[in-house]
Structures are given as structure tokens and as C-alpha cells.
Symmetry: C2
Subunit: 230 residues, 2 copies
Amino acid sequence: MLDIEQSLRNDIIAGALPLGSRLRIDELAGRYGVSHMPVREALRVLHGEGLVVIEPNRGARVRTVHPGFIEDLFDVRTALETMLVRRAAERRTADHLKRLREAQAHLEALVAEGEFESVADANRSFHTAINDAAGNPGALMIVDRHWLLLSVLLRRYGHGEERFQRVIDDHQHIIRAIERRDSASAATLMGAHIEKGKSNLLLRVSQDPQIADGATHDRPGGRRLWLAAR
Amino acid sequence: MLDIEQSLRNDIIAGALPLGSRLRIDELAGRYGVSHMPVREALRVLHGEGLVVIEPNRGARVRTVHPGFIEDLFDVRTALETMLVRRAAERRTADHLKRLREAQAHLEALVAEGEFESVADANRSFHTAINDAAGNPGALMIVDRHWLLLSVLLRRYGHGEERFQRVIDDHQHIIRAIERRDSASAATLMGAHIEKGKSNLLLRVSQDPQIADGATHDRPGGRRLWLAAR
DNA sequence: CAGTGGTCTAGACCACACG
DNA sequence: GTGTGGTCTAGACCACTGC
């Protein structure tokens, strides 16, 4: 096993630690066989990433989400990724373009083969390729954090498999805009692309507002996710 | 004195710890009279905020900046604050509007009285009032971090006092757009407003690329800021 | 191989929350 | 007041850098 920070992150994303569950320092220290200091460190880092919320003197929990939070998340992603794709269109080199096409080809292959499990990663690779080409490491770090939060949600609410073909289509148009260095079009297309993702996720989430049993762990008050986060 | 984290942050912003200077854990621990663990913590937090860069096994330094970094910084601010002002225009209440007008009145008063030292804070209050009205705490946190980095630069390169009157004018137009809930105009105005700030700062910075003596501390290689950060 | 950065242990200690 | 969260000390120890 790697360090406790990565273990915790994995356990949250994989759902072993459900949304809203308490994260007791000493308990985790015992579980992972370390002292409490590394656990505290890890919790602080994950707090910085947004996966964990820490209430002063009341302990840490896995972040809980509600529709407003998801909208906020996507507002930030839209704002940053439209800016990044604009820069990517301006600054891309032939090499960036190559990597971008490879990422897209990989994604298309996975969809064709029905490997829907891996599509989320491939989709992220596509977006990362664009954001790399933009050459703004600070923005890239922020967007990466948001992908991390997003992956927690996608793991629970699926990716809307029926719409993969439309995602591929969107991507192809975005690639073409980047090819011809058409930054305005690229930004418009990216904005719409992310907006669709937001709308689809919110729809799926609203159709299944109940959360699996584990999520109410330590939260006897209610079974719904939406009311917990502030 | 408060905790070491805030002390460090203040010392960096105030310039007591120049850009690029080394931050040795044991040295700081001795200086502030604590053990090395709290210092390590503080450095990690400031690293998360972007004020400090940590090179693995090579120690920590105060962040160094170069023109490209400033552009990246403003790209993120523009992307996020235009989004936020759009939401603010949609969601603002009468109370938000009141606070916004108060912040603006305060800023105008300071400029009228020639209190240029405090204008930067008042300017930030204005923007914070808008971002609060937008109601996206995650985005607000990111923007706040960028203001922190910005304040390090402003402290060194001044605020371009001659343009305060134009800032006031920009703000008034933005307020009016928010008043009439015209989110598109508000976003356009905000984009231009921040773009001006970026352009002015880059100009001032390029006119004075040399850095005060202290900044070359521990970096015998060169006196210029621009080449150090990667 | 010396120096330094970086992390962990083990335990003391304080502050707040909750019953 | 008791429990728990949260921080600090002091020191051991490992890893990597740069002579």
C-alpha cells in the first residue's frame, strides 16, 4: 500500500468511504497502522482538494454534495476550460495536436469496444491534453482538482452511456477548431460541451436522489445527500 | 504574534521575505521559537496557496514570478470573475447591492482623500462583495488565493495611482449592470476591467525588471526575477 | 560521505463540544 | 466533566543532493 494520503483518496473515490462519513483521526491511524500526525496531514491535503470538509473542533467528513454544489463546480470548470481551450488554440504545437488526436482516438476505440468503465479516464485525458497545451499550470491544477471531485460523482451516477457518441462528436469539433487556431469557436464549443455534461449529470442525479445505505453512516438524520452539505 | 503560518504569510506579502528567498525549516523554527513540525505545516499551506514553491528534497522558496506567470494569473482571474459577476447579476439581493455600493463609496472616499495605501484593500473589498453575491464559495476561495498572490506584486509595483479614477468609472458601470441584472454586460465590463489591470501591471513590471537587492538572496546567479521561476 | 530536507513516532497538552 | 479534535515537542530516521 502506498501512503495514507493516496489510500484515503482512493477509498473516497471508490466509494469505500461514503459521502458524508466521519473521518476520525485515531480510527484511521489505527486502520492504516500509522500515528495520528500523518493522518492529520492527509486530511488537510484532501481538505485542500475539496474531497474532505473539516469543521473546527468537530472533526472531518467526506464532502457531501447537493445540486447547487454541482452547479458551482461546473460553473468553475466552464469558466476555466473555455479560457484554457482558447489559449490552447492559440499556443498549440504540432506535438500537442498529435497527443490530442491520440487521446481522442483512444476514447473512440473504448466506446466502440463498449469499454465504458475506462471511458471516463480517456475523456479526462482528452481534456488534460487540451489544458496542457494551454500552458497555464496554475489553472491546470485547479481544473484537475475539479475532475477529482467530479470522478467521485461519476462513480456513483454513471456517465450516461447513451450520450458517448455525442461526446465524441463534440470533441471532434473542438479538435478541428484547435487545428485551425480558431480560439473563439473552440471556447464556444467547449462551453456548450461542458454545459451538456452538467445538465446530464444534474438530470441523472435528480432522478436518483436517494443515496446508498452507507452514506447515512454516522448521519442518522436523513438518507438524502442534498440536505447535508451547507 | 499569531501563529507561524500567518506570520510567514505577512512577511512574504510585506516583502520581509523577498521573492525567491530560501525558507529553511530549522532556521524558521528557530526564528519563531517553535519546533520544525509547525513550520513544515505552514510551508505546505502556503505552498497550497501558491506563495511558496517546494522542490522535493531541495527545500522551499518564496515563489518567484515572471511575466508569463502574471499573465496566467490574470487569465484565471478574468475567467472566474467574469463568471462570478454574471452570477452576481442574476442572484444579487437588495442587501448585496447595498454592500456593493458601500464598498464603492469607501473606495471613492479613499481616492478623494489621497489615501492610496488603503485603496488596494478597498478595491479588493469591492470585488469580494461581487463574488460573495455570486454565491459560489469554491470559486471564491480560488479567487481569494489569486488576490493574495496579486497583493505580493502590487506591494512591489504600486497600483498605478494615475488610473484610480478610471477604476472608479469601471466599477460604477459594473454596479449599474448588476443593478439592472444585466449579466452579459456585467461580464463584458468585468473582463475589460481586469484586462486593464493586467495590462497596467505588466507594463509597470516590464519597466522595472530589476528587483531589490534582497531578492537575489541565496540566488547568486542573477538579479532578475523573470528567469528564476519555471 | 556529509548536509539537509522530509517524514514519522510517541506522547503531552489545550480547547471546544456535548451531555 | 469527559471525550475528542487539534496542535506541539523532541527526537529518530530515511532519502536525496552535492561536494
